[in-house]
Amino acid sequence: MNEALSKSRKPISRKVRNRITAILVTSLTIVILVIFLMPMVYGIMTALKTDAQFSTKGAPWYPASREQYEYEGKTYDIYEVPIDGELQGLALVIKGRTLSQFVDSDHPEDGLIRWEGAWRTLERKWTFDPQWGNFVKAWNTINFTRLLGNTLKYAGITTVGAVVSASLVAYGFARFRIPKKKVLFMLMLSTVILPGAITLIPTYFVYLQLGWVGTWLPLIVPAFFSWGTNVFLMRQFIMSIPRELDEAAMMDGANPIRIFISIILPQAVPALTAVALFHFFWAWNDFFGPLIYLAGNPEKFPITVGLTAFNTLYSQYVNMIQASSLITAVIPVLIFFFAQRFFMQGVVITGVEK
């Protein structure tokens, strides 16, 4: 882009050149963005279609239904009929291979209009007709209230566990001199990239022995024992809190628990928020854990597993699948819009400082 411009550098001033680059780069960005978000528009449009629209050839891309007209007690489909070089919307009353008869919905009193030609070559007339009821239908078919309740419970409880445990452990790593602390810290970071499969089978077996398989416990309990990424984020943040405050409190005779609660936690709110958001979204998305531990207990399924089960059963109902996927997507997306600042900061801390 710049090279092409630089050939004609002399006559164009720098300011104009910058403006042209800005317009080019911005339009490129917008084009990519439109393609990037196109599936979402597809999802919305598809979710609003009637079942019939999928099986009809020549149906439009937007949600629409066939235009129909009632004539002498019967309903007929309206087709676009070329008469006198003009397309007219006429209801097809008598179908014929070479000659069909139509009626004009605006002037039914004129009686049947004869038209020569194969009616199959004609296109139907469609009107924009979004089926908002599809969302309600999807919500009820999949029992979204229950799935949503399960996911909210799971995400809520484990978020509390994740935040509490991560902040305790991070405080330990950030503020205390502990023998072999470096080794412990590296060990903790290495668990972040450990493939989950390696620990899965023995833990599954232990949970099975405890009678926990088929309940939420295997998914909830581990969250209270802290997680590498969250601890890392919290530790980075706590280390940036000036130590003078702790020391002053210590002089006043406060013990470490006191300091943690009344000095560290209030100052670490941005990091706590980031960890809470991360964990919440993670739990909202979690699939593999619930798939394994809740197999065969559909009444305990979270949204992700429920949606998958729904897709396996009803994959031919494209509109229902899209509607339920969108319902699943909307809550995290809304939370994201409200909390994006904290969230993005958190991403940056965990990602770059390593």
Binding site: W61, I178, F225, F287, I303, T308, Q322
Partner: protein, 327 residues
């Protein structure tokens, strides 16, 4: 970043050396108290299960009849490494997919970050939010939405291609994104791009850390856009690229959700999407061959470890750490 590091580094120096050991002991005790949730968790959920997993790999074991478990030595290992061809096959598929999807997704993330970091783009924050947004959609929903878009009959992808280029794309004779063995990995990669947000933000932060003086100096020396990209930007953010690459490789080995949601592990089309993790799941939780499953898990761990070591080994040739950070 460096400010934070300074604060931390100066601390121990300020303190007078060798305070009373009793105080130190007390401090360590408090520290361990705060670390205890992690230490218990580490033992209970990582360390012991890992060892147990290895023991399991030496057993013929079905959790439904735990009493019938028998010690069979390295039979499972022999099966995984020699007789069971599906292990190598599914692993090769996983690698082939990773080789296609990782460069595309990391490249796309970096490309977006560079565009959104450019001073020439109007309305950057809005685009940043919108490019990030799909990462928030639960992956199951993403996969299902894209599965609709890529449907060969009714999907918009084919409709658009047909309407714009005029090539016949719709229908069984057209572009079969999910059923064509040559295309399916690219289709799966495409879903993945909706999750590109995190990598994009991390790259963006990396780019913002590159001192602008470098670019100014390069511009004065007459370096063009491409030269600046390859001689300044990429070397300076190579640690971030490295971090993303390591996580990406480990993540690819465990790729499971999309193929599972779309075909329940049948590997459609022609077994192409029966990846390693799917095979592991089937052995462990469909056939309940948990001894063999544990072997497959250990094998995955070993492969992940080797790949990580290789990546770290290559790091010194291309990952650039600024001198000040090396201390």
């Amino acid at each position: 970043m460096s400010n934070m590091a300074n604060v931390v580094l100066k601390r121990p120096i300020k303190r007078t050396k060798r305070k009373m050991t009793k105080l130190r002991k007390n401090e360590a005790r408090w520290g361990l108290f705060f670390l205890s949730p992690w230490m218990i968790g580490f033992l209970a959920f990582y360390f012991l299960p890992m060892l147990a997993s290895f023991v399991f790999s030496l057993l013929n074991f079905n959790p439904a009849v735990p009493d019938e478990a028998t010690l069979i030595g390295f039979e499972n290992w022999q099966r995984a490494l020699v007789t069971d061809k599906e292990v190598l096959l599914s692993f090769t598929r996983t690698l082939r997919f990773a080789v296609i999807s990782l460069p595309i997704s990391l490249g796309f993330a970096l490309f977006l970050a560079i565009i959104l970091n450019s001073k020439n783009v109007i309305g950057k924050t809005l685009y940043r939010t919108l490019f990030y947004m799909p990462s928030m959609i639960p992956l199951v929903a993403t996969v299902l939405i894209w599965n609709g878009v890529l449907n060969e009959h009714t999907g918009w992808m084919n409709l658009l291609i047909e309407n714009i280029t005029g090539i016949q794309a719709v229908g069984t004779e057209g572009i079969r994104w999910m059923a064509d063995t040559r295309l399916v990995y690219y289709s799966y990669t495409m879903f993945g791009l909706w999750g590109v947000g995190n990598a994009m933000i991390i790259f963006l932060a990396g780019l913002q850390g590159v001192p602008t003086e470098f670019y100014e100096a390069a511009e004065i020396d007459g370096a063009n856009w491409l030269q600046r990209l390859f001689k300044i930007t990429i070397p300076l953010i190579s640690p971030v690229i490295f971090y993303q690459l390591v996580l990406g490789v480990i993540g690819s080995l465990q790729y499971f959700l999309a193929p599972w949601v779309l075909n329940g592990g049948t590997g459609f089309p022609e077994g192409m999407t029966r990846f390693y993790m799917i095979y592991f799941y089937k052995q462990s939780f469909t056939f309940f061959n948990m001894g063999y499953g544990a072997t497959l898990a250990w094998l995955m761990f070993i492969v992940a470890l080797i790949l990580t070591i290789i990546l770290f080994g290559t790091a010194k040739y291309w990952v650039f750490y600024a001198a000040e950070e090396r201390k």
